[in-house]
């Protein structure tokens, strides 16, 4: 029989958790991308992030792999740049965002990519996201140019719109697919769960070693 010794078609699933960090110039739409991805919402007027916001979102891939992202959305303002390493240090993946209507924002994105490639985990998966495609009439960065750069730098690339939701899920899903799932040791960066006392086993946001004494 052809099905002898064949595994059950619905193989046991796997659940992975990854730390994802968003970087990019101020006002390119990092928080909006997260809000769209996590809550499927959009605010036209959003206060700038002064700090680092934390949210989680789970993606279920077709091959029964479930990927849970713990997302750190960082402040884009230049004055907080020195704090970024706290957030990308243990990140497994990063979304570097620029605004397709602001030429300078791609340059800033490139410098973030450089910094990540130099300072972050060598296996970090980086995606470049050109946000605000809803404003394509004011486009200042050609898709092809950014794509060529992303290709050369080995980045995933998407043009997105947090406002229209275009490509937002695709962006995060493709990151999930790109994660080197097979190579991960099961106990790497094992973290305890802290919210058990609330009856639900939610996992603990990442703690930098610097300030883990919670």
């Amino acid at each position: 029989m052809s099905n002898s010794n064949r595994q059950h078609p619905q193989a046991p699933g796997k659940l992975y958790q990854f730390k994802l960090v968003l970087l990019g110039e101020a006002a390119v739409g990092k928080s909006s991308l997260v809000l769209r991805f996590v809550k499927d919402q959009f605010d036209d007027y959003r206060e700038s992030t002064i700090g680092a916001a934390f949210l989680t979102q789970t993606i279920h891939l077709d091959d029964n792999t479930t990927v849970k992202f713990e997302i750190w959305d960082t402040a884009g303002q230049e004055r907080y740049k020195s704090l970024a390493p706290m957030y990308y240090r243990n990140a497994n993946c990063a979304v570097v965002v620029y605004d397709i209507t602001q030429a300078s924002s791609l340059e800033k994105a490139k410098s973030w990519v450089k910094e990540l490639q130099r300072q972050a985990d060598p296996n970090i998966v980086i995606a470049l996201a050109g946000n605000k495609t809803d404003l394509s009439s004011r486009r200042a960065i050609e898709r092809e140019d950014a794509q060529a750069y992303a290709h050369d730098a080995g980045l995933l690339f998407f043009e997105t719109s947090a406002k229209t939701a275009a490509n937002v899920n695709e962006l995060f899903t493709s990151i999930a697919r790109k994660m080197p799932l097979d190579q991960l040791a099961p106990n790497s960066r094992l973290r305890g769960s802290l919210l058990n006392n609330k009856g639900v086993d939610l996992t603990n946001p990442p703690q930098n070693n610097n300030y883990c004494a919670c």
Partner: protein, 778 residues
């Protein structure tokens, strides 16, 4: 997380499962050791072609060898007989499994089209016969998954004889206990003998468990964070499932329960009258079930067929042998369903035209509800549950409002009044908020040394807030870096436990001071520090520096001019506003306003230095100042603070200046050496070891002290005092000086002694005899 997901999946199982109804034929027959001879079609044929045939035989072989030999010939014989009984239908079925234990045989056939959906086929048996273990009595069982419901069949033969009720009950419990199935079978069902019906498919064997089947499918079970969280379906603890860990359970066989306490004639009579109700009252199995002694977990359909035992072979007559066994419903089919309506019996009958055994075959036809998981919908439900969990998790993350994220402290002065600003953290989330200021990347402290945060951590209940005081004050510890060019600038990180971080920016404009600078830096300043800072001047190149900081020179020069005759110099506290004024003059290079610093500038300069005159002057000076006071509104005034307050203030400026040096005049590393020096020569040699600017400052200061001493005619008490005060600031240990002084009073003594080597003459000072010498002098 997985437990929660599992539970929610269970709750919503209906959303991703499809109900299917299948029909199942169950037959049981004690063949009394006979070879198959009768046509079985009347037993096996039923109107619709059932999806499953489960057929159990007992007493396949009564020979003694049967206990020992694993003889399949009887099974083949009966399989063929079944195939013949099914006639044309036979080609529609595949035998997926059979299980034999001596005389017990259980065979399961399914319709061809179901072969691929029958999975996880497992079998087991339990002998409970002779010695409680032999296979002449016992049970065999087949467990399988049909779509996503598990079905278990048990065929048994319990202890015989009408008196053996308890034994039968015990056999039942033993079979229930001893037939088990591993959760993760590592073996395959032995391949079935080739059946004449059809080729036997090799049953696909995979993991199975008592838990809902979708648990084995694609639901993550284990959790471990950061990378791969876990895999379900991996090796689980070896735990056996029982027959009851099935969605659908059918029990058939020769249970051997009799009709008790009724004479044979009466049974026959009741049977003739079809009075089942009365008869069944005496049926041992019914009695056991009613009293919950055995089989009480099971259901049984209404019996409408005659007792199936014991007949004269080849007849439909009750036993006519000498024993004249009373008729009994020994052959039964019962069921148990996990859901209340999972199994429905359509028929329950015996087949009296089959006469080759002393038992009649019994059959039952059931419909069973079967779950079929729809993987696509299952995924949808799973995703929605995980999303719910995400939402719950995100909604329950701590959240807060921070009242302000930028603080500008304006001008910050060295030793200025502490500047406090407040930031309020308001808990806007749904959970208790634990906040904590944390250090920046790779830093040790949560803020710069000139800032204090109070409180730096705490917890806030939802809806409430906490005010945090952020105080900027520059002292000797924090000033050196600021004087050297660092800015009042910091970013604070408020970390919410399990949540986000807030940044708070702190700004201020520091006014640099000559205090709390390295001497090496002061001598390279091209202008007074405030001007150099404001004009953004760079330091003089090395080699072009001056020999002694201008500020020291100005202080010493003032004291030399106006203070030599002040006999309590360095022992009287100065005036704070004058001290600040002097420091500002030093910082800006502005000339000292003598009218502020001297009691009477004119008179003072003329009258230097007659200590006796000082006493007379006191009253006059006080009067004078009381009138001056009203005119002095802007600039600091010493008012009625006392005589020579300007000089005392200047002296205190010197002390404070020396105290503020980040590296004392005698550098830290020479401290221990200096306080242990025992000779004038060795003391002077130390000056060779210290940087030239330090040596110069030291020499300038000790020269001034000598001048003061000479001026005061070698007042021994004064010398001691001067040496003590200046020694304590020029010689400092790296550890907290004050603490050390308390712990070791001798340290202060030793500092004083070190200084004495420099401010007294050789003749006057001979090692330990210093005091004696001075006493003699007096």
């Amino acid at each position: 997380m997985s437990d929660y997901v599992t539970k929610r999946m269970l709750d919503r199982e209906a959303e991703f499962t499809e109900q299917k109804t299948i029909s199942v034929f169950v037959g049981t027959w004690n063949v009394n050791g006979k070879f198959a001879s009768d046509a079985l079609d009347t037993w096996l044929m039923c109107e619709a072609e059932p999806d499953i045939y489960a057929i159990g035989f007992q007493e396949l072989d009564l020979s003694a060898e049967a206990f020992i030999l694993n003889d399949n010939t009887r099974e083949e014989d009966w399989t063929r007989a079944v195939a013949r009984g099914l006639g044309d239908r036979a080609t529609n079925y595949w035998k997926i499994v059979s299980k034999q234990l001596v005389g017990l045989l259980l065979m399961v056939f399914v319709r061809k089209e179901h072969v691929t959906i029958v999975k996880d086929v497992q079998t087991d048996s339990a002998g409970v016969g002779i010695m409680g273990m032999m296979g002449n009595k016992g049970g065999v069982s087949v467990r399988m998954r049909f779509h996503d419901s598990t079905i278990c069949f048990v065929n048994c033969h319990l202890a015989a004889d009408d008196t053996q009720v308890l034994r039968r009950n015990q056999d039942y419990l033993e079979i229930c206990r001893r037939i088990t199935f591993p959760i993760n079978p590592s073996y395959s069902v032995p391949s079935s003998p080739v059946s004449p019906i059809t080729p036997i498919p090799t049953s696909p064997i995979s993991a199975t468990a008592a838990s809902p089947n979708w648990l084995q499918n694609n639901i993550p079970i284990a959790v471990n964070i950061g990378g791969m969280i876990g895999i379900s379906g991996g090796p689980a603890p070896e735990k056996a499932l029982t027959i009851f860990d099935s969605d659908r359970l059918i029990w058939m066989g020769d249970l051997n329960y009799r009709i008790e306490a009724l004479p044979l004639a009466e049974i026959k009579d009741l049977w003739e009258k079809r009075d089942f109700d009365v008869l069944l009252k005496f049926d041992q199995l019914s009695i056991q079930r009613t009293n919950k002694w055995a089989f009480d977990e099971f259901e049984e359909g209404q019996i409408t067929f005659p007792p199936t035992y014991k007949y004269d072979v080849r007849t439909n007559n009750w036993d006519s042998s000498e024993k004249k066994r009373a008729p009994a419903w020994t052959d039964r089919i019962l069921w148990r369903s996990k859901d209340s309506d999972g199994i429905k019996q359509l028929a329950y009958r015996s087949h009296i035209d089959i006469t080759q055994s002393d038992h009649k075959p019994v059959s039952a036809i059931f419909t069973m509800k079967i779950k079929k998981i729809l993987p696509y919908k299952q995924n949808e439900v799973y995703i929605s549950i995980v999303r719910e969990l995400d939402k719950f998790e995100n909604d329950n993350l701590p959240d807060a409002n921070v009242s302000c994220s930028v603080f500008d402290y304006g001008e910050i002065k060295y030793l200025g009044a502490p500047q406090t600003k407040s930031v309020t953290i308001e808990n806007t989330g749904h959970v208790i908020l634990k906040f904590k200021f944390v250090p920046k990347f790779d830093e040790q402290h949560i803020c710069q040394p000139w800032l204090t945060i109070e409180p730096s951590q705490g917890f806030i209940v939802p809806g409430e807030g906490e005010t945090i005081k952020l105080t900027v004050a520059v002292d000797n510890v924090s000033a050196p870096a600021l004087n050297a060019g660092e800015k009042i600038e910091d970013i604070l990180i408020i970390h919410l436990e399990n949540g986000k971080d807030f940044f708070i920016s702190i700004h201020g404009k520091y006014v640099p001071t000559c205090f709390a600078n390295n001497l090496e830096r002061l001598v390279r300043l091209p202008k007074p520090i405030k001007l150099a800072h404001d004009e953004n001047l760079s330091l003089l190149p090395i080699g072009h520096q001056i020999s002694v900081p201008k500020e020291i020179w100005r202080i010493l020069n003032f004291i030399s001019q106006y203070g030599k005759n002040v006999n309590d110099l360095f022992t009287v506290t100065g005036d704070q506003s004058l001290i600040t004024y002097i420091r500002e003059c030093l910082d800006t290079g502005e000339e000292f306003d003598l009218s502020l610093l001297l009691d009477d500038p004119q008179k003072k300069q003329e009258s230097l230095p007659t200590p006796l005159e000082d006493d007379d002057k006191t009253i006059v000076e006080l009067d004078k100042h009381s009138t001056d006071l009203s005119t002095l509104t802007e600039k600091p005034s010493h008012g009625s603070l006392g005589d020579n307050i300007g000089v005392h203030s200047m002296a205190e400026v010197l002390i404070r200046f020396l105290q503020s040096l980040p590296e004392p005049v005698i550098p830290f590393h020479l401290y221990d050496q200096c306080i242990n020096i025992k000779s004038r020569l060795a003391a002077h040699e130390v000056l060779e070891l210290i940087p030239s600017v330090h040596a110069n400052v030291f020499i300038y200061i000790t020269s001034l002290l000598q001048e003061v001493i000479n001026h005061n005619k070698k007042d021994i008490g004064r010398i001691e005092t001067l040496a003590f005060v200046l020694g304590s600031v020029m010689l400092r240990s790296k550890t907290n000086d004050r603490l050390r002084m308390e712990l070791h009073a001798s340290q202060a003594q030793k500092k004083k002694e070190f200084l004495l080597y420099f401010i007294t003459n050789e003749l006057e000072l001979e090692d330990d005899e210093v005091e004696d010498n001075f006493s003699a002098d007096l």
